[in-house]
């Protein structure tokens, strides 16, 4: 057994099967001399290859718009001129001229800083390969001979390669080259096949028909695995498949009640990686991204750049709101590189927004990163633990200060970015009406709110049985917050555990909650619950909880 580790996963999942190795054909240019009188004829050969490629690509573009891009590139006069000039001025044959031109463009793209742009080198390579095949009169299907499901192992796969591939016979992809934004990565992700890219040395380790076990989540490839390894991964795969099927069946449907009332069901996440999985589960937004991961898994206060990159990575992944909560540290969460003074009562102590407002530079670093990332997706900023309108105003003023700095520096950000707050203290419930006039949205944090309203530490075994979000005081608080929000035309969400309590769904729905946010695993079930409710019923049901 041989094992290979890969650190970058393009698309998660497990595959067990035989290797099919994609043979590379030689696209080296033939070396023949061209006499001066035949040079023009040689340029015409290129033009002919282009028109053939155009015909092929027009057909392919109907199914996949990446070929629409190839079509425009192949028609680009800059490319044509570059090949023609090499023929006419340097006396190259058409194949050499194309090869040189391709090499120049590919190396240019490969040297780019931006990873996405860099991966476009593969498109140029693919296009020039297509032209070269036409010039060399090669008609080649690299997947000929596949008649059973296999794991495709290749140096790299171009869009033109995969267009020839019958995906029914593919269990997974392993490529030696390529990045996570390469074409094969995107295809694999879209159809949910495991895929590992940049697997250095894979082609030297595998021969056709070798049995392979790949776990793309862990980034492991086993070649000639032992029986125990096969058994282990077969079982793991079976479990994953079942969960995936169940989730997929349910999560595709939107959260709309039987009488057509639509609410948002979003995810609570604690890292940028988690955001990647959301699309698979048809989750379109994030109701709570805890930014603490950037601070806690670090050796220093994260820099603006570090934070910007992380927020940007999340912003890319989602279509709807991405609510990012500013640092919520203190209480039970501390930092390895910052000393917190001992407090008798940390939950009533120096935490969350209180720290941010005092450590203004640290706060501004985070806000600037959030603002800068806001052009990449619908990011919303959310402040935790607000108790006074002055705090909200001060925090918002600092946001404005950051916006001004960015404007002066000509750094783009979303001018319309929403700034809202958590409602998780009794003070913010009682003053909800005031807050709703100045916040762009509310999100009720029921975990802390329940603890603060009931004066119960749910971590304390002796009193944890008193912790109950169904307590009339908590329910009444939630109702007030929703009503205050709606009276001021702002949306009210909930990101505490109560939002994923299956017994609370109908009540919350009936009280008019706009957004339910919870861990990804709960989403399919809660969505199903919502679909099984009628909004009219839920409203009447919620009224029975009303305090006179």
């Amino acid at each position: 057994m041989k094992e290979i580790h890969i650190s970058r996963t393009a698309s998660k999942g497990i595959a067990i099967g035989k290797a099919f190795i994609v043979e590379k054909i030689s696209l080296e240019p033939d070396e023949y001399a061209v006499s001066a009188s035949e040079l023009v004829n040689e340029t015409q050969k290129y033009d002919h290859a282009v028109s053939e490629a155009v015909k092929q690509l027009e057909l392919l573009a109907e199914d996949n718009d990446i070929f629409g891009v190839h079509l425009e590139i192949v028609k680009d006069t800059v490319l044509t001129e570059s090949v023609h000039n090499r023929i006419l001025e340097q006396g190259m044959n058409v194949q050499q001229a194309l090869n040189e031109t391709a090499r120049e463009w590919i190396s240019m793209f490969k040297s780019m800083e931006d990873e996405y742009m860099r991966d476009r080198a593969a498109d140029i390579k693919d296009i020039c390969g297509r032209l070269m095949c036409s010039l060399k009169r090669i008609n080649y299907n690299p997947f000929e001979g596949i008649c059973e499901p296999v794991i495709i192992v290749a140096e790299d796969l171009t869009p033109s390669d995969t267009a020839n591939l019958n995906l029914k016979y593919v269990l997974g992809f392993i490529t030696q080259e390529g990045g996570i934004t390469s074409h094969v990565s995107i295809i694999a992700k879209n159809i949910g096949l495991p895929s590992l890219v940049g697997a250095a040395g894979i082609l030297e380790s595998v021969v056709p028909e070798d049995l392979i076990v790949m776990d793309a989540k862990e980034g492991r490839i086993f070649i000639h695995p032992e029986r125990s390894v096969i058994m282990k991964y077969t079982e793991k795969k079976r479990k994953l498949d079942r969960i995936k099927r169940e989730l997929a069946d349910k999560s595709m449907l939107p959260a709309v009640t039987s009488d057509g009332h639509k609410v948002s069901v979003y995810a609570n996440i604690g890292s940028a990686e988690e955001a990647e999985a959301l699309a698979t589960f048809h989750v379109k937004g994030v109701g709570l991204l805890r930014s603490e991961f950037l601070y806690m898994e670090n050796t220093h206060f994260p820099t603006e750049e570090e934070q910007f990159e992380a927020y940007k990575a999340v912003a890319y992944q989602l279509e709807e709101e991405i609510t990012i909560r500013t640092l919520d540290i203190g209480g039970d969460k501390t930092l390895p590189y910052f000393e917190f003074e001992h407090e008798e009562n940390p939950y009533l102590g120096w935490r969350a927004i209180r720290i941010s407002l005092e450590k203004k530079d640290m706060f501004k670093t985070q806000l600037r990163a959030l603002l800068r990332a806001s052009i990449f997706g619908p990011i919303r900023i959310m402040f935790p633990m607000i108790i006074a309108i002055e705090e909200l105003r001060e925090a918002k003023e600092i946001v404005e200060e950051c916006k001004n700095e960015l404007r002066v520096g000509n750094i783009p950000f979303n001018e319309e970015i929403q700034v809202g707050m958590m409602v998780e203290t009794p003070a913010s419930v009682i003053c909800a009406n005031e807050f709703a006039k100045e916040a762009d949205f509310f999100s009720i944090g029921t975990n802390d709110l329940t603890q603060y309203i009931l004066a119960v530490d749910r971590g304390n075994k002796k009193v944890s049985s008193y912790y109950n979000s169904f307590h009339p005081a908590v329910i009444e608080s939630i109702r007030r917050v929703i009503e205050a929000g709606h009276a001021n035309e702002i949306k009210v969400g909930m990101c505490g555990e109560f939002a994923s309590d299956e017994w609370a769904v109908k009540l919350l729905l009936g009280m008019g909650l706009d957004e339910f946010s919870m861990s990804v695993a709960s989403i399919p079930f809660i969505k199903e619950r919502i679909r099984n409710c009628s909004y009219q019923d839920a409203k009447m049901y919620a009224d029975t909880y009303k305090k006179e």
Partner: protein, 87 residues
Amino acid sequence: MVNQTITVKNKSGLHARPAVEFSKLAAKCKSNITVFFQEKRINPKSVLMIMAAAITCGSAITVECSGETEEEDLKILIEAIESGLGE
């Protein structure tokens, strides 16, 4: 000659598809068009030249048109970039 500076908002910058959209539009315009980005001068009628310029999200580019239809052409191009070039 007219020109205008604009910020590119496409998530992955003027990569493949938006670059194609832009070059198609530019090719339809009668004016001479030049795009300035950092120190580069780009002929936007070529999709390859646009892609090669590696214009990432958040970059400011200046579009310059000259010719009889320069006003209309500039307007068309700026509006297209503003609206995200089909993305």
